[in-house]
């Protein structure tokens, strides 16, 4: 693992964890990663690699799905947090934006946003609400139940809800999923803004590797429940395999989706 600049304090570190679902299905097999304070770290990987599982292990939500961290530990600001209830973890400052939006369908946008700030006791809620609305004006217009929002609108709401919580660390599970190209750009710029202006550390799971590696400072690549490659965003962007499988293009000119019919190279990380 390449050394991280010593000056950076590790906000989150995941050490060699193993996760088992339903007492039998082993999903993560010795996964380690670190998130330095104040940075954006991207976590990339194929479908089913265990990215969401990793995030859930950190936020404690694994428990609610019959999953369990059976080995290794997770520390947040030096404190071991595996096994702690998810709501307590939120209070410590880790907030997860779950995959698939998961907004509360039978409440209005406003109520959803207010719930984002559930753990907060300060008076800034009102201002933050305005801030969210200024990022996503559509949310202000939609006064009906959140369940009737379009897919993309729900995604905006989910991100807005995380902003309302003002956490120290946001775990984002595929925030750009289902967003239009315009919105994707917007979301990534918001992610960067949150990081820069509010000083929130972000662990980002993304399929849009190109955008993710642009926004992030560091990245990890997962396969089959393990980290197979990591480095700074720069390093990853220039890695041949990453280029080929995540960014497209690779060494040659970018291929058309139409023409890659039969020819297919399987990836082989070292």
């Amino acid at each position: 693992m390449p050394p991280v600049t010593a000056a950076k304090r590790m906000m989150l570190s995941v050490n060699n964890i193993e996760v088992v679902y339903n007492d039998v299905i082993l999903v993560l097999r010795g996964l380690s990663l670190e998130v330095p304070e104040g940075e954006i770290v991207a976590l990339l990987g194929a479908n089913g690699a265990g990215k969401s599982t990793t995030l859930k292990a950190i936020s404690g939500l694994l428990k609610t799905e019959d999953g369990e961290v059976t080995r290794g530990d997770i520390t947040f600001n030096g404190e071991r947090i595996n096994g702690i209830d998810p709501d307590k973890i939120v209070r410590k400052g880790i907030f997860q934006v779950m995959e698939g939006r998961r907004i509360i369908a039978d409440m209005t946008c406003l109520e959803n946003l207010r719930l984002g700030a559930y753990t907060r006791r300060d008076n800034g809620v009102k201002d933050d609400l305005d801030m969210v609305y200024s990022y996503f004006p559509r949310l202000k217009e939609r006064t009906g139940l959140a369940g009737y929002l379009s897919g993309g609108e729900q995604q905006m709401l989910a991100i807005g809800r995380a902003m309302m919580a003002r956490p120290k660390l946001i775990l984002m599970d595929e925030p750009s999923m289902g967003l239009s190209p315009l919105m994707v750009k917007e979301v990534f710029s918001i992610v960067q803004q949150i990081n820069r202006d509010l000083g929130v550390t972000i662990l980002l799971v993304e399929q849009n590797a190109r955008m993710a590696l642009q926004a992030a400072t560091r990245g990890y690549i997962m396969e089959n429940g393990k980290v197979v490659l990591d480095g700074t965003a720069e390093e990853l962007r220039n890695n041949e395999d990453v280029k080929e499988f995540y960014l497209g293009g690779g060494s040659e000119e970018r291929k058309s989706f139409k023409n890659l019919k039969s020819f297919k190279r399987r990836k082989r990380w070292i």
Partner: protein, 295 residues
């Protein structure tokens, strides 16, 4: 005509009582999607507790009753911690079955502790009956009517505006999401059970004062199902309106029955016919929120 009017008044009064029990149902449902089959036993426990304080300790009603409410609050919390907490995250239907188990346990426990005979409450109000619109009614009904209005207003505000109220609704919608927002599902559940137990105790004491306390009081639990559904499972106002409707319906059905039909038990069955009819028109009751059907 006066009979009809009197029945109407009586229907409203009894309906308000149904409304109280219905509210305590809805409360648990709103926070956890659990249908509590032990609600009737909550009512019973409340009634016995109050009875015991009033007879064995000779406390005056105005002290014994609040103590009962506090006790029920604690009881709800403890019950949640011991029995229902381990069930968090498990299939709702299993939790519902647990409440059925609870009702069996409490039913037997109450009989064990207080015996199988109906016991009368000591006299509480200087004048046990009050004249309301030309109908003599038990004073305690009037009391529960007032309390229920208060409770209803309180809940209405609570779920619409308070942070905790919102959190409870979120918990009901999706426990996992609620937890991801930092809501302690345990606290929400504990609170809803506690308040629900307390509210049922109001109804329990009322019925107990009127009819004497006996295990059979717990039947009220199932009796209010139509009321809850009529109003809409997740609506506090609906619960009260549903209660009133069922109360009035029973009495009107009885009127029809006694004057013309002579079926005998129309008052028991009619609410169910009306229930089905209303549901066919409004599948989520009068005030219930529709499920969101989107793909």
């Amino acid at each position: 005509m006066t009979l009809l009017f009197q029945l109407l008044v009586n229907g409203l009064i009894v309906g308000a009582l149904y409304g109280v029990v219905a509210m305590s149902f809805v409360l648990i449902y709103k926070a956890s999607r659990i249908v509590n089959f032990a609600q009737g036993e909550f009512l019973l426990i409340g009634a016995w507790t109050c009875w015991w304080l009033l007879t064995s300790w000779q406390l005056p009603f105005w002290i014994g009753f609040p103590i009962t409410l506090v006790f029920m609050l604690a009881f709800g919390v403890i019950l949640q911690i011991i029995v229902l907490r381990p069930m968090i995250g498990e299939p709702i239907i299993s939790v519902i079955m647990v409440t059925i188990g609870l009702s069996i346990v409490f039913q037997a426990a109450m009989k064990w502790m207080f015996g199988v005979f109906a016991k009368p409450f000591p006299q509480i109000f200087a004048s046990p009956t009050t004249n309301l619109f030309g109908l003599e009614v038990q004073t305690v009904y009037v009391m529960s009517l007032l309390i229920s209005i208060l409770i209803m207003a309180g809940f209405g505000w609570f779920f619409k505006y308070s942070r905790t109220g919102l959190a409870m609704r979120a918990t009901a919608f999706d426990q996992q999401v609620a937890q991801s927002l930092g809501i302690s599902v345990r606290h929400m559940f504990a609170m809803s059970w506690a308040i629900s137990a307390m509210v049922s105790a109001v109804a329990g004491v009322t019925v107990g004062v009127v009819n004497g306390v006996s295990s059979a009081l717990s039947f009220f639990g199932i009796k209010v199902f139509p009321a809850v559904i009529l109003g809409g499972l997740d609506s506090i106002i609906g619960a009260v309106v549903g209660g009133l409707i069922v109360g009035v319906l029973e009495n009107m059905a009885h009127y029809l029955d006694s004057q013309w039909l002579n079926w005998g038990n129309m008052y028991e069955i009619a609410p169910f016919y009306v229930l089905i009819a209303i549901l066919m028109i409004k599948p989520y009751g009068l005030f219930g929120t529709k499920d969101i059907e989107r793909v």
